[in-house]
């Protein structure tokens, strides 16, 4: 069962790319809310097998930043923090509100169960390196690199 909240298959909007020792994602979306939500999904595909994650718990996330790319880093860092501290994996991301400086979202996931969840790696941090958000002809695009 595919529990993500995206209307199209991930391979049509998510592209992973290589960096010498780390990994990055390039994400397309029709609007900002979708862009942020898809970036979160993209990040968790690096961490685990998304098909194995069930949306059984809900949390709310609110973050602020000085600008939009910074907000993307904050949002993903927040999710990575909860993943690390609460030992959770997430699979559904609903961005309720996003402006240049503020984001609020609802996120669903479940506690990590070693019997069902494979955790591939650890994301040390969401970096500012090569960070970009663009908009062209109605297509939003984000590029983000993770330090593994």
């Amino acid at each position: 069962m595919n529990l993500n909240n995206h209307d199209a298959p991930a391979n049509s909007w998510l592209q992973e790319f290589d960096h010498t020792a780390d990994r990055g994602i390039l994400v397309n979306a029709g609007d900002l809310k979708q862009l942020f939500s898809r970036c979160a999904w993209g990040m968790f595909t690096i961490l685990t097998e998304m098909e194995s994650v069930r949306a059984v718990e809900e949390i709310e996330i609110n973050v602020n930043a000085d600008d939009l790319p910074g907000l993307l880093v904050k949002w993903l860092s927040e999710l990575n923090f909860f993943h690390n501290i609460k030992h959770r994996v997430y699979c559904r991301f609903e961005v309720m509100e996003v402006s240049e400086h503020q984001l609020s979202a609802k996120v669903w996931g479940e506690p990590i169960d070693p019997a069902r969840h494979v955790i591939y790696t650890e994301i040390k941090a969401v970096t500012y390196h090569g960070l970009a958000i663009t908009q062209e002809q109605g297509v939003y695009q984000a590029q983000i690199l993770f330090d593994l």
């Binding site: 992973e16 790319f17 290589d18 960096h19 010498t20 020792a21 780390d22 990994r23 990055g24 390039l26 961490l47 930043a65 000085d66 600008d67 939009l68 790319p69 910074g70 860092s77 923090f81 993943h83 690390n84 501290i85 030992h87 990590i112 494979v118 955790i119 591939y120 790696t121 650890e122 040390k124 941090a125 970096t127 500012y128 390196h129 090569g130 960070l131 970009a132 958000i133 663009t134 908009q135 062209e136 297509v139 695009q141 590029q143 690199l145 330090d147 593994l148």
Partner: protein, 505 residues
């Protein structure tokens, strides 16, 4: 203004330009040959000093195909940089600073940058050597690796080696390895053989966020993921008999290498500082060629705050490796059923390779205190340096250079040439030749653990994917890196260590 231009830059990027479009094409750089192992990019534009890259002619083409030289020139633009922005032969593309980057800054005019240290603050390497011959170990190798794999938590969010209270964690961040020894993890004599004696002063616990404390609570004594590891090996070759004797190394001697850092505690300290440093850069009108180079004047409140928090993470990493070393000793005792004194796993030395420290160096004939950033570079102090243990004062500081899990690692010593040319620094490792993705493709359809076993190396990883990503051939041959340092005279080869067992994060 700087901020505005950065933002405009971000928003005006077009789809087709994405993926590092802000980096200047390599062809714009002219690499002037200084000698067989050193190249220079002369200062142009906003560069305040030249960028100097240690490499042989053969290595240069692969370095040029990467964006690391651009990053070295970016670092050369930072205020107060002294002499040159340096890159070691294992240079590769990092965040902000290149991996393999060394830069020293004047304490009055200069800056401190979290990008010059990295997320894994005080990532480093400990070498232990046993009294035992490797042949004494081989029959029990598989049991040893299994035991160590259970005893030293690896992988993702790995927790549980040691649970400490918040109050206790504060002491860890102040006392480093000494805290661990005071709790019974290891012996007093370990401390003498750790850079900074395993404990750096100038920490400021009030600058560490709640989040960093939280991330640090569960992870003491854990390896972490990525390229971190614990390896059992042996001394396979000795190049410098005098230095090897001073370190107590002999042929076929059993060794342990531990490579890890400050775990989530350090990652969070770095992460927390970046936003603050970006605002500080605007406040002090520092133009940033790359957002990840966010920095603040060393003497500013922001600079001091970062240094205070970073030093807490440095101490955390020292304690972490001390606890792991202790657990490795326990594992050997249990599996071999031999007394600790007969196993004699002694700390040969421990180095940091992601760090910023205040050190005194001679520049143009004058002694000056400087803030030396080493990001993926190792301190390599010369014989006679007061900072190194008395037992090594005649040979120079031991420098530990891990290779990949299938080949070899090196023990080197620092030189006076390094003191003159690189602020007493040299390389830190092999560096990846393949991205993780490429390594996974190369490992497809293969059983890496079995291949390694066929070569006499028992490996254990958190997942099959971990081992695939850490494929031996995914790394460059570390020999070319250390040989380049030898040609440049910034380190001497002492011994080569070959692995027979490895646990991977």
């Amino acid at each position: 203004m700087v901020w505005q231009s950065l933002r405009n830059k971000v928003f005006t990027r077009r789809k087709s330009f994405l993926i590092y479009n802000h980096l200047r094409p390599m062809s714009e750089f002219h690499f002037k040959k200084i000698n067989e192992a050193l190249w220079e990019i002369e200062p142009t534009g906003r560069m305040r000093v030249p960028a100097r890259i240690y490499a042989t002619e053969k290595m240069l083409s692969s370095i040029q195909s990467d964006n690391a030289p651009q990053q070295a020139t970016n670092v050369a633009q930072l205020p107060g940089i002294v002499k040159a922005s340096l890159a070691m032969p294992d240079i590769h593309w990092g965040y902000g600073f290149p991996i393999g980057g060394v830069a020293a800054f004047d304490l009055k005019e200069g800056v401190v940058s979290p990008g010059g240290v990295g997320y894994d603050i005080n990532c480093g390497v400990r070498l232990l050597a046993s009294k035992l011959n490797i042949d004494d170990i081989r029959p029990r190798l598989r049991s040893l690796i299994e035991d160590l794999f259970k005893r030293v938590p690896t992988g993702v969010g790995s927790a549980g080696a040691l649970s400490v209270s918040r109050e206790e964690l504060k002491k860890v961040s102040q006392q480093g390895a000494r805290w661990a020894v005071s709790q019974g993890y290891g012996v007093e004599s370990d401390l003498e053989y750790i850079e900074e004696n395993g404990e750096i002063a100038g920490f400021d616990t009030s600058q560490v966020s709640d989040r960093a404390w939280l991330r640090g609570l569960e992870q003491l004594g854990t390896l972490g993921s990525g390229n971190h590891f614990l390896e059992i090996g042996y001394v396979a070759e000795i190049f410098d008999a005098v230095a090897a004797r001073a370190m107590g190394l002999f042929l076929n001697q059993t060794t342990i290498i531990i490579h890890c850092g400050s775990r989530g505690f350090g990652y969070q300290v770095c992460d927390d500082s970046l936003g603050k440093m970006e605002r500080a850069a605007r406040k002090y009108h520092i133009e940033l060629p790359d957002r990840q180079l966010a920095c603040a004047p060393i003497e500013s409140d922001e600079g001091q705050a970062y240094l205070g928090a970073m030093r807490c993470a440095i101490n955390y990493a020292f304690a972490n490796r001390q606890v792991i070393a202790h657990h490795a000793r326990l594992g050997f005792e249990k599996v071999l059923g031999t007394d600790r004194r007969d196993i004699g796993l002694r700390t040969i030395y421990e180095v940091a390779h992601n760090i910023a420290k205040i050190e005194t160096h001679v520049v143009d004939g004058v002694e000056r205190p400087l803030c030396v950033h080493r990001k993926g570079a190792t301190r390599a102090f010369a014989p006679g340096s007061a900072e190194i243990p008395a037992a090594y004062r005649e040979i120079g500081q031991p420098v530990l250079i891990p290779g990949d899990m299938g080949r070899y690692s090196y023990v080197l010593t620092g030189t006076s040439q390094a003191m003159m040319d690189t602020f007493g620094s040299c390389c830190h490792g092999a560096g990846r030749a393949m991205s993780r993705e490429k390594a996974l493709r190369a490992a497809k359809g293969r059983d890496i653990a079995r291949e390694m076993a066929d070569r006499g190396i028992v490996v254990r990883g958190q997942s099959r994917k971990t081992l695939d990503e850490e494929l031996s051939e995914a790394y460059k041959d570390v020999t070319s890196v250390v040989d380049t340092c030898s040609i440049a005279g910034i380190s001497n080869k002492v011994a080569k260590l070959v692995p027979i067992g490895c646990i991977k994060g």
